[in-house]
Each structure stands twice: as structure tokens, then as C-alpha cells.
Symmetry: C2
Subunit: 156 residues, 2 copies
């Protein structure tokens, strides 16, 4: 198995940011994700589709994993999950279910819940503190605060 | 807010078992779920649809929550999640995201991963040790072992 250390994290996070931007333009929650093998093959990209599909489970990460389709365990175990925002427990739990060994997070200033738990489960979590990801969420909190509260199970 | 202590757990687990049976007949993984308010209103039922939809994220519990649609936080927080099998970390994380306070589990002899974590997060987990739920999974492991391995992110 190759390691993922050579992957261009900024490039693959950029694919997730593209998805987040599309989601915002669709009227949704601007969070995107990409699932990439350790060899640099993009298995899928995805974005939060709460608004677009009326979905309670299509966060950026879960939408991405859904779009990757049914995969053998060995594929997940040799992949990296890129996400523009630090994962909620649903998405963190999905990564743990499939033994995804590394998650690259765009930013965790807006929201952070699962990182210490993920690390306690052996998942490598690298936070890039990307200003574009933060700007996308700042606008979300300003303009669509009620949808954001709903998305993380909080009262508006 | 009413409490859920008066709910007829056997009855609502029965709805989840009905879903598991349908899933088996469809060629899928026989795990079902029901989301029920503390007042006894069934918000949704669901079943594992890995095979039926080619889905990596439609476990019994997540399918049920998806079918319940977009809900305010207050609804999840006054509900009970019934599931025929002890939840994986994806489904457990979904319950934690939405602050579902109680999960009733049909059986945990076939699979158990998240119960101690759920309890550490304040979720009440009640296991009914139901023989029908166990029989459904025994047949699954006998006849569709590869799909079951895939469903929990393990090598076949």
C-alpha cells in the first residue's frame, strides 16, 4: 500500500471547495468533500445537499461517500477524505465505520466536534485552516443561520 | 416534554423488524429501524438499502432518518430510534449529531461497536435481545456474508 504523504492536499481540498461553492449557489450549505485514493485518484466529490434534496443525512462527507458507490473495505482503507469543514459526528462515524485513515479538514473555527474522538480512534486529522473555507461558512452563518442550526441538530 | 417510558418497545421494534424482513426479501441486508416520538408518533421507518440503492450510507437507521425528512432539532430530541441491530459508528454518530436521547436495539450479539461510546455521550441504549432479530442476521451471515462484510467496512 502506498502512503498518502505525497498527496497535494491544497489541490484536493480545492475540489471540495469547488463543491462547497456550488452548494452555496444552489441555496444550500456550503460544505464540500472529496474522497481520494493514496495514489491520487479522485473516487468522488460531494457536497451538503440538505436543501437541494431535503436530506437529513447528505452532509458534504456522506454525500461524497455515497457518490463513490459501494466499495470494498480495502479501498476506503487506502484513501483520504478531504472536507471543507471539520466533520460532525455522523460524518466522523462514517469515516470510522469504513476505516478511512486520514481526514484533511479545511477549517475548524466555525465548527469542531469530533476531532479528538477521531484521533482517539487512530484517524489522522490534519487541519489546513484555509481562509476560503472560513469565508464560505462566515457567509452561511450570516445569511442562512437557521439552516445551519438545523444541519447540526441545534435549535435556531 | 413527555418521557418515552410508556412507549411499547416491542411494538415499535416490530415495525423495524418488518422493514428488515422486506430488506431481506429484496436481496439486501435485513436491518430495519423506526423513529418514534415520545408521544408514540411514528416519524419514519427505514431499512438498509446497500443492495437496493447501491448505497454506502443507507443503513437501517440512516435510511429511517433520511425518510423522516428535514426536522427541527426539538423533534429529534424528543424521539426514540428503534433498530434491529446494534448501530455501527455511522448510525451512532447520526444519533449523536441529532441528540436522539434513546436507542432501542433488537440485538447486539451479531455486531456491537458503539454502545459504550453512545452511553458515554449520554444516549440511553436499551438492548431487547430479540430472537427474531438474531435469526435474521444469522441467515444473513450464512447466505450473504460478503455483503455483510462490505456493509461494516470489513474485508470479506
Amino acid at each position: 500500500m502506498t502512503t498518502a504523504e505525497h498527496l497535494d492536499d491544497k489541490h484536493f481540498l480545492g475540489l471540495a471547495i469547488d463543491q462547497a461553492r456550488i452548494g452555496w449557489e444552489e441555496g444550500g450549505v456550503p460544505i464540500g468533500a472529496a474522497l481520494v485514493t493514496n495514489d491520487g485518484e479522485v473516487l468522488a466529490v460531494g457536497r451538503n445537499r440538505r436543501v437541494q434534496l431535503g436530506s437529513a443525512i447528505r452532509h458534504g462527507e456522506t454525500d461524497c461517500i455515497e457518490r463513490a458507490g459501494r466499495l470494498p473495505a480495502s479501498v476506503y482503507r487506502a484513501s483520504v477524505l478531504y472536507t471543507t469543514l471539520s466533520p460532525c459526528f455522523m460524518c466522523a462515524g462514517t469515516a470510522v465505520l469504513y476505516d478511512i485513515p486520514r481526514i484533511v479538514v479545511g477549517e475548524n473555527r466555525t465548527f469542531e466536534a469530533s476531532e479528538s474522538w477521531l484521533r482517539s480512534r487512530g484517524v489522522v486529522v490534519d487541519v489546513l485552516d484555509d481562509p476560503t473555507c472560513k469565508q464560505l461558512m462566515d457567509r452561511m452563518l450570516d445569511e442562512r443561520a437557521e439552516i445551519w442550526a438545523e444541519d447540526i441538530g441545534e435549535e435556531a
